[in-house]
Subunit: 494 residues, 2 copies
Amino acid sequence: MARLTGRMVIGSERVAGTGTAIRAVDPRTGARLDPEYRYGGEAEVERACALAEEAFDAYRATPPERRAAFLETVAVKLDDLTDALVARATAETGLPEPRLTGEVARTTGQLRLFAADLRAAGDGTGPVDPAGDAGPEIRQGRVALGPVTVFGASNFPLAFSVAGGDTASALAAGCPVIVKAHDAHPGTCELVGRAVSGAVREAGLPEGVFSMLYGDGPTLGIALVTDPRVQAVGFTGSRAAGLAIAKAAANRPRPIPVYAEMSSVNPVFLLPEALAEGGGELADAFAGSVTLGAGQFCTSPGLVFAVRGPALDAFLDAAAKAIAGDPGAPMLTPGIARAYAEGVGRLERHPEVEILARGREPDAAVGGAAALAAVDAEHFGPGLQEEIFGACSLVVRCADLDQVRELARGLEGQLTVTIHAAAGDREAADRLLPVLERLAGRIVWDGWPTGVRVGHAMVHGGPFPATSDSRTTSVGSLAIERFRRPIAYQGARR
Amino acid sequence: MARLTGRMVIGSERVAGTGTAIRAVDPRTGARLDPEYRYGGEAEVERACALAEEAFDAYRATPPERRAAFLETVAVKLDDLTDALVARATAETGLPEPRLTGEVARTTGQLRLFAADLRAAGDGTGPVDPAGDAGPEIRQGRVALGPVTVFGASNFPLAFSVAGGDTASALAAGCPVIVKAHDAHPGTCELVGRAVSGAVREAGLPEGVFSMLYGDGPTLGIALVTDPRVQAVGFTGSRAAGLAIAKAAANRPRPIPVYAEMSSVNPVFLLPEALAEGGGELADAFAGSVTLGAGQFCTSPGLVFAVRGPALDAFLDAAAKAIAGDPGAPMLTPGIARAYAEGVGRLERHPEVEILARGREPDAAVGGAAALAAVDAEHFGPGLQEEIFGACSLVVRCADLDQVRELARGLEGQLTVTIHAAAGDREAADRLLPVLERLAGRIVWDGWPTGVRVGHAMVHGGPFPATSDSRTTSVGSLAIERFRRPIAYQGARR
C-alpha cells in the first residue's frame, strides 16, 4: 500500500495539522488505524482559500478539452491506485472489496463521463440572438461560479468523497475545489487527495485548483462555507449537518448556493396486481435492496406502502424470512451503528409498530441487525417517516388505494420513489404518479432504488429535505451545471 | 377606458378587499386616481393558494402546446387592451405613452416567445440513457415546481408586473401564479389581471391557474411566500424587500427558491482609446442612457470608471452639458422621488464628490432633476456604490488601468457591466474582462446597458445583490427553467 503520511493537501504542499488528532476505526475489528490525522485550523483554511481564489481565473479560462484531459489524468491515477484504495477503504469502512473495487470504477467512470461531456459540449454555451431590429447580438455563455467547498460522505468513500461527483463536476465546470475530508476514512482521502493534487501538477494547472483539509465540521467545515472566496458548496451527509451548512451559507453577507443531499426514505409503492404477481421473488428482491451494503445508501428503501390483504401478507412473510436470514455486515462507523440501533429501538418501542423480522448480528465490532417492521396506516405519522440509516424498512398497511395516495401526499421530499405496477394496476398508477412526481427526483418503475446509474440522464436529487436544492442532481452530467451560471455578451467586441 | 372595479382576481371571482384602502397617484399632477383598491388579508391568501394548489396537477399536465395557446390568448387580450392599458398606466406612472405602448408590445412579445419555446421544445425533457449493462433505461424529464408567487415591479407596469416575465415564465413552466399587485399601478394591474383570468377561462383551464391580490408587502406579501402550497417566488424591486422575501423563504420548514432581482449600479468602463475616439457622441449616448425613463431602470448606468486625462475631461464636459440640458421627467412614485433626492443629497454632501451637472426639474408633481457627479478613485468606497434609483451617475476618475481593475474587483454583483474598448484597448480589455465576468450577468460591448432585449440568449440576472440567485435570468427563454426541476424516470412502465 502507498505509505500514508497523515498530512493534508494544500495546493502543492503536504501539511501536517496541529489540531485534534483522529484515527480511522476498522468497523470489522474495532481497531484504530494508523496513521494519526490532525485537524487543520484557520491558517489552513486561509491558505487553501487564498490558493483557490488565486487559481480560479486561470483555471476557468482553460479550454474545456484541457480540463477534460486533467479529469482523465485523475481517473488514470485512481485506477492505478485501485488495490491500495480498496485495501485502505476496506479497513476504514468495512465495506466488501468487490463493492469498493466497483466504487473505484464508478468514480473514475464519472470523471471520464464529465471529461467526455466537456469534449462534446464545451462549457455549455447557450443560444445566440443575432443583431437586428430587436437590438445588438446577444450570445449566451457560462461562467464558473468560483472556488467550491466539498464535504465528502461517509458511505461512499470514493464515489461521494474526495474525487466524487461533487468534486468532479465542480472541476469540470472550471471551479477550484477545497475538500473537507471525512473523518471516517481519512487514509482513503489522503490517497485520493494526493492523486488529484498530482494530476493538477502534471496538467500544469495552478496548484490552488485542489486542496483537501482534515477538520472539525462545525468550525473548519463552516469556515470553508463562510469564507468570502468560496462561491458554492457540495455536501452529502446528514440532515442536521446539511441544514447547518445551508444556514451558514444563507447568512453570509453574499449568500451562495448549497447543494446538500441530506435524507430520504425512498418510499416504495406496491400496487395490488404487481404485489399479487410478484410473489416471493418480489419479496426477495426487496429484502436484497434493503440489506445491500447494510442499508447504508441514501437510496435505501425505508418505507413501503401497500393495500392490506393476502398478497401483502404473503409478501411480508417472504420478506420477513429473507430479512431474518440476512447475515448482517459491518456498519461504517460507531456513530452510524449507534444511530441505527436507536432508530430501530424507536420502532421497537412504538406501541403500534410490529417488528416482523430481525436479521442476524454481523460478525463485526461495529454493526447492527437488519430489521423489517410494519404498521397500519391509521398509525402512520410524521415520526415514522424519519430516515433510519441502515438496513431497516417499515411497511405501511393501507385500507385501499385512496389511503395509499393520501399518505403519499403527506410525505416529505425524497431522492426516489418506486412503483411496482402490473398491467392491471394502470389506472391506480395513473392516479398515483402525479403525487409521486411532486415527491421525488427519480421515479423507479418495477425496480429498486439502490444503484444510481452514472449517466447523462440521471437525477440524484429531489425536493427538500432530500436535498437543499431540488433543481439539480449530484450524479450525472447535469451535476456540472450546478457550478456555473449563465452570462450574456451583448454586441461585437472591436 | 375599460371600467375599473377596484377588485382583486381570485380564480374566476372578482373580490373586493376589506383592508387598507389605496389609490394610485398621477405623478404628473399629484392627483389621486379612482377607484379605490382595498387590501386583501388572510382569507384571500388562503383562497388563492387553495385554488392554485387545486389547479396545479391538472395545469402542469396540460400539453405544452395548450399552454402555448393560453399564453398567446393572454397576449392577444393585452394587445387588444393596448389603448386602455397605456392610458391608465400613463396616469399611474407618468411614463410617456410611446414607452408604454412599447412596453405592451414587449410584454405580449415575451408571452409569444415563451409560447414559441413551448411549441419548439415542449417541457424541456432531457437526455435518455438506454437500458444496457449499466442498468435500466433512465429518461430525464422536467416537473413544474408548484404554485408561484410573483411580486410586480413599480418601474415596468406591464413587462415586469402582472403578466410580465415572472408570470409568463411560471405559467409556461406549468405553474399556477398568484400575483401581489404593485400599489403604484393598481388600475393597470386590474386590467391585466382580468385579461389573464379571462384567458384562463377561455382556455378551459382550472380557475386557480391565476389570481391577483392587492395587499401590504410585509403581511400579505410574506404570507404568499410562506404559505406551504407556494413553491417558488419571483420578485423585482428593492434590495430591502427582496432580502426580506428571501429570508422568509429560507426560514420556511421547507425552503423554496426565490428569484429576486434587487439592485444594480451597472458599472461602465471607458477604456482610454475608446474614450479618446468617442468624443462628444459617447458622452451624449451615455447621458441618454442615464436619463432614459428618468433613470428608473434596473440597468441604468450609475457608475463609470475611466482613467484621468484630457479625454476624460472632455467626456465629462460634454456629459455635463447633456445632463444639464435634460428636461427631466416625472418619477414613478413619491417614495421613489424622495429616495432619489436623498441619494443625490448624499452625493452633494459628500466632501470628496463633485456635482458636475444637474438637469432641470421636471414639470411634474413628482420628479427629480438628473445628476452627474465625479469622484477621484482614492475616495471611492462602499457607500458610493449603492444604487441611487433615478437619473444619476457617478464617474470615478482613476490614476491608471490597474486602479480601474482594482476598483472593479471590489464591486458588488451587478446585472450588467459595460466596456467601451477600441482596437488599441485590446490588452487592457483582455485583462479587465475576467474581473467583469465575475461581476455581472451581462457584458455589454460598446453599447449601453439600458434596453434589455427579450430573446433566447438574454441573461437578466447576476451575482448577489443584483439578484438572490445568479444561476438564472428573469428575461428571455431561460427564465422558464426557474420554475421546473429535473426528474429521472427509471425503467419501462408496464
